[in-house]
Symmetry: C2
Subunit: 312 residues, 2 copies
């Protein structure tokens, strides 16, 4: 085969829809759906979402790996990930939009005390609670990449006091920028609603922990829409139970699906959602992947490759 | 007394805070808190939120009534309202901001299926549901006055397909404008999430009824943040129970507080909030009221008066 086959791995569902998109865009490209990928020698490209560990090493002629989702930590943490092959993160604008919807929804939920009103509704209790003016609410976003800066932009019209914390200093209108570990503490001290959108790297693993929570002002709220590995779950529960934190929204967990035995499910101050904050649009992704395959076929470098040394 | 006293009626709470604002802004103005208003002959100004019916007729020297809240229907529907006295609606920007927060929160809640996920959480069920792309969701706002147009502006960045329905045609960027009863049907037919922000007038009373719901597409959602009188509650329940409507958020009710016997409290498709969508900022209101009193004292007409013939 001149073109090489595009392979699919571990897609949650709707393989047929993806296959149809590729067939329409590039009929010469053969698409195989995992686990029916033999012979592995044919496979030049992999489009993956959480492939089994070591799986990608089985393909001797792999020319590029396309990763779905904003994070690539799960690939890089696999010691058998083929580091000689370019890794492309498919930056999907609908994924960014979906994430910002989730962030604004959860920030408004906590700011406007919706969880308390839902509880009152179950008790048939008509009880008014005041919410602070948005201009008095300080939202802090950890991670000011594509996702964090879009979330900031969508939050700005509501008048929140916005700040962001990131590896390097950023310049985003209306967002106070804090950078590096030295500025983590002042960033946390001014943050009422903390939103984590960080990439998961060795430096950020477990960053939502006891010390972090202690630096937030009393009554703060934590929203984690990044990765389960950012959060030390029992530290969060302790900070909620002590009354220091007022609430949390979690979309990601140390173990997914969240086990039925997790105390997070029934915690009265926690909103649990099943890793739904954002999804990828197959139409956009298939166009991006095909364009990159055609670049590689012309001998050009693919776009949107991940810097393996930084991890994102 | 040369100045006349400013009187307060029926404020939900925190009279002392209001009194302090007026004392600071205009020390010469005596402020009395209802029901301690005697002698009624002294009273030149009333600042009211749902005063008892007929109450305002007791003051022979009333020169202006200031009404809190966006709607004035409750005043005009009182046959004993003193129509010879100018009625000023205090247009508070924080009220508008609060309402838009509520509208965006509830639109995102339904679009992103948060009520279903909250139910899953109670069952400890990890279950993914897809949400449509915002670009495929058609939000329709009834009422494009100060509140409706601000809500549209806050919804626009999310990429929803926006339309509005109002008495007269409006020109708002990114919002398709429908006007008058003739265009109600096409407006409803293109609306997945219906947001009611109308003033309550004889024409709009009961407008959220069986016929209206039947014209919405199957699976539509209704959000009423205007007045309880807009909604025929049993028509809504019937449309939800038949499966035609998917959900509703109600902040206002025919009877408030919502009686414990109301089936709305425990309806699995209804979010009930206790008339909290938006509040008035005493700082802003007191400045606005004092400025208007000073206009009247100089023999000028007050600003922001209500056109009694239109009812808003």
């Amino acid at each position: 085969m001149a073109q090489g086959a595009l392979m699919f791995l571990s897609l949650v569902d709707r393989d047929d829809m993806w296959t149809a998109h590729f067939r329409r865009l590039k009929p010469s490209l053969e698409v195989r759906v995992f686990p029916k990928v033999e012979p592995v020698e044919d496979v030049s490209y992999a489009l993956v979402w959480k492939p089994p560990a070591g799986e990608l090493l089985r393909y001797p002629h792999l020319r590029c790996v396309f990763s779905l989702g904003a994070g690539v930590d799960h690939l890089l943490s696999d010691p058998a990930f083929p580091k000689h092959v370019p890794l492309v993160r498919v930056v999907d604008p609908s994924l960014t939009r979906g994430m910002s919807e989730y962030v604004v929804l959860q920030v408004l939920m906590h700011h406007r005390r919706q969880p308390e009103f839902l509880q009152f509704q179950r008790l048939k209790k008509w009880q008014l609670l005041m919410s602070p003016d948005a201009g008095d609410v300080r939202v802090g976003i950890m991670g000011l990449g594509v996702l964090g800066s879009d979330a900031a932009e969508k939050l700005r019209p509501f008048g929140y006091q916005l700040a962001g914390w990131s590896h390097t200093r950023k310049s985003i209108a209306g967002v106070e920028s804090f950078a590096g570990m030295d500025e983590l503490k002042p960033f946390l001290q001014r943050t009422d609603i903390l939103v984590c959108l960080l990439p998961l790297t060795p430096e950020t693993r477990g960053i939502l922990n006891r010390e972090t929570f202690a630096q937030l002002p009393a009554g703060a709220v934590v929203i984690n829409a990044a990765r389960g590995g950012h959060l030390v779950e029992h530290d969060l529960i302790a900070a909620l139970d002590s009354g220091h934190l007022k609430g949390a929204t979690l979309d990601v967990f140390q173990t997914e699906p969240l086990p039925e035995s997790s105390p997070l499910w029934a915690h009265p101050k926690v909103i649990v959602t099943p890793h739904l904050a954002s999804f990828t649009d197959p139409r956009f992704v298939s166009e991006n992947v095909v364009a990159n395959i055609e670049r590689i076929e012309r001998g050009e470098a693919p776009h949107d490759t991940v810097d393996l040394s930084r991890g994102y």
